[in-house]
Symmetry: C2
Subunit: 475 residues, 2 copies
């Protein structure tokens, strides 16, 4: 018997088995609010639906080799989960003047059936075409920021919040709910109305941190994106000063009904029924993940906003870092094998700045990425524009010709006048003190581009993202 031949048959049989098994994939897309999740998914779906005929995806091997036969939208697997509103996004882009797709506020999903010609000779003999069912799942990155709560008691969480208030800008915003908390006799029997009042004031504070200070690191994350839980007591809690949260109750019997007792109960309920539930219902099922990061807006907003973004993004990455805590292993078996970091809105800086943008993103995610790679997850980092809103151009600066971008600024929607500008140099490293003093960078939002419904959306490197995320599935 010829062993090498036997082994070769076995390899082919393995390949075949792999192909038949590899028919489904759940690709998750996340990022903080404003990172561009909706635009990314809208463009990704658009490229896949129209990509077989459009020749806009040269970096995707399957399309380059003309083995991609096309895609169709089919019924999503979970009937009670919101559908990702692809059509709504396309309608917005094709309105006059075009507008960006509306942001999403919770989990949504969409399923595409991708058809292709397989590479394997054996498979091709058996079957002319193969199919990949691709589920794309969108969820707010903010929800992953709640992960650390799972390992904290209520008192520990209060300590954490107290230390975060050392930031002077937060101190001022926090004064209203803090004053309400100071007056509280935390061991007395709780008044539901007062609990709800303080919780509402704390939620207002979180909204202000987000909107006025450009902060992303909001805890608990569901307070600003409550969905179906709006008005429920599980969201009617708030932090106490650490000294109070740690003060023992005088009356053990009354404790359960006291302010402190209720705050502890609700904190535990939130961990168990809100945070864990997301991991168990959704996160556990993801095969691959894209983390989108908008590095440009925080460059505009200043040092603190940038640091907060960096902190939040790295906090998000802890969820992919199964090894670090036994807690996560208990919650879900590691499954994700590839993770893409993408700096979005690359069309909002000139093309010669793209490599700086990639390097900046690499530094932003460096810490989290190291842990993720240690888990055996393959990662890649790139800069992309999901829907390209500008053209490359040239501008004159001090008599020199420099790379610039050209498009309609969001502020010129009425006049529809084109502007050519050079937003400045993107730092290739985490910006140092002198960067913020010079303020050499000004990133301006552009209107969505005018596009035709018959052509795929213009983009930068969506094809490179597809190649990294899906490329190996089309053997």
């Amino acid at each position: 018997m010829n062993f090498s031949r036997l082994s070769s048959v076995k390899t082919k049989a393995d390949d075949l088995a792999k192909l038949t098994m590899d028919k489904h994939m759940r690709l998750a897309v996340t990022g903080l609010s404003g990172a561009g999740k909706t635009a990314f998914i809208t463009s990704l779906v658009n490229q896949l639906l129209l990509g077989a005929e459009n020749h806009q995806l040269p970096l995707w091997k399957l399309a380059r080799e003309h083995r991609f036969l096309g895609a169709k939208r089919t019924q999503q697997p979970h009937l009670h989960v919101a559908s990702f509103d692809y059509q709504g996004g396309m309608d917005a882009l094709h309105s006059q003047p075009p507008s960006w797709p509306s942001p999403t506020h919770g989990v949504s999903e969409i399923r595409l059936k991708l058809r292709y010609t397989p590479q394997s000779m054996l498979w091709r003999k058996l079957n002319n075409t193969a199919t990949l069912n691709l589920d794309i799942v969108d969820y707010p990155g903010e929800w992953l920021l709640d992960l650390p709560l799972l390992e904290q008691s209520y008192a520990q969480w209060c300590e954490h919040i107290e230390s975060s208030l050392q930031d002077s800008r937060k101190t001022e915003l926090a004064s209203v709910w803090q004053a309400m908390v100071q007056d509280l006799d935390i061991h007395s029997i709780a008044d539901e109305n007062r609990m709800a009042d303080i919780a509402n004031t704390y939620t207002d504070y979180l909204h202000q941190c987000k909107q006025q200070l450009g902060m992303h690191h909001i805890q608990p994350g569901r307070f600003v994106l409550p969905g179906e839980l709006a008005g429920a007591p599980v969201l009617a809690f708030f932090p106490l000063p650490a000294a109070l949260a740690n003060s023992p109750s005088k009356d053990k019997k009354q404790h359960k009904q006291s302010y402190l007792g209720l705050l502890e109960q609700r904190f535990e309920y939130y961990k168990e029924h809100v945070v864990k539930q997301f991991y168990q219902q959704h996160f556990i099922k993801f095969d691959r993940q894209t983390v989108l990061v908008d590095c440009l807006s925080p460059l505009n907003s200043g040092h603190d906003s940038f640091c907060d973004m960096q902190l939040a993004v790295n906090q998000i990455l802890h969820s992919f870092n199964y090894g670090k805590t036994s807690l996560l292993r208990r919650l879900f078996a590691p499954k994700i094998d590839k993770l893409l970091f993408a700096a979005t809105k690359a069309d909002h800086v000139s093309i010669d700045q793209h490599s700086n943008l990639v390097q900046l993103l690499s530094e932003v995610v460096a810490e989290g990425k190291r842990h993720v790679k240690f888990e055996g997850i393959t990662t890649d980092t790139m800069a992309l524009a999901s829907i390209k809103a500008t053209q490359s151009g040239k501008a004159q600066l001090n008599g020199e010709s420099i790379s610039a971008i050209k498009g309609i600024l969001q502020s010129d929607v009425e006049s529809q006048q084109q502007t050519t500008l050079f937003p400045g140099e993107v730092p290739s490293q985490l910006p140092q003190q002198d960067f913020w003093q010079q303020q050499g960078f000004e990133f301006s939002p552009f209107q969505a581009p005018i596009t035709s419904p018959y052509q795929a959306l213009p983009h930068h490197r969506i094809d490179q993202a597809i190649e990294f995320l899906l490329g190996d599935k089309f053997k």
Copy 2:
């Protein structure tokens, strides 16, 4: 041994056991949109919170006997269920000018702890006071209209909708989604976008039936109150013409992915995960029920609107009619032992019309009530005003002095001018053809009354409702 004494001790022990067991009660409040659920619960909570000191509850025996010691709001049992917004309602009533509390759109709950002096000598010796934990649960009556779906197949539901379209006013509104459905090749592979488009158009039609025609009998009920299910495929279905829904599929294999196949799947999913879930999570736990009915608005809107309201209310009562179908017995064990029918907004007609209003309500609910009573459920029927917006007065009609009402009409909010009017006679029977021809009735909405935060809200017969619903619990 003295048997009669033994028996008397046994009775006392039974009484005692009953008292200790009777510590919790879940009182459900429902009604169609606009029936006045929020005003009823706001006033009920207000009367109980302030009732021990205010002397506004003479028809409640406990209060009359000065055995009611007071009530406090405490933590509701389900932390993930929205809290009934009592404080928001009171703030609206105490704003200037006062406004009615905002309507609710789903399930919400609130818990009160009622403290009283028990009647039983034995109990009084053991303990000076006793406590009843009262949960008040608010839910839309529309959700109960989906009950019949549980016994229908998709094709049977389509037949039912088709027959309901014989109403000529509906036919016109229905033309848009019907045209979209006509063009569908229901055995071809479904296009998700088109499914969603038609479902949205069907949902628009349901909203129009509700708003333009004043119809309440909307199926499926969740389409107009989607809550967390907004945008999910479980709400992306619609009825087909009965002949189409009954046409066998040509290709059994393709059926699952065809329009007809998906419509059938989603209809079944809706029954299983939306309709049944409400019964299992909430309905099964109710001890007593109030069904609120606004008989006055449909008297304004005309014959069809009145008939639709009557149909819808009786349809709601099917959910309390356990014996009728074995399905309901399988879904939940019968538990409700008292059911109150209340005609709301009695302050919007003159006081001499209240007895007519009760009689009219009795006729409206006659059919459903008969079945409910057959189940052994005790019922009562009354006319009430949760928050009294008018005063009784006298007016002159053709030289005669008649009973009238006086208050600020909703249309006079700006001028805050008082109006005295006689809205007409409420028919004491289901109105016949000549009633609609004469149009002798005109019911006008009044502004919420100006009230003091230190006094309980003015009302008509909330105390009578309390006596019926809770009275026997305070032994």
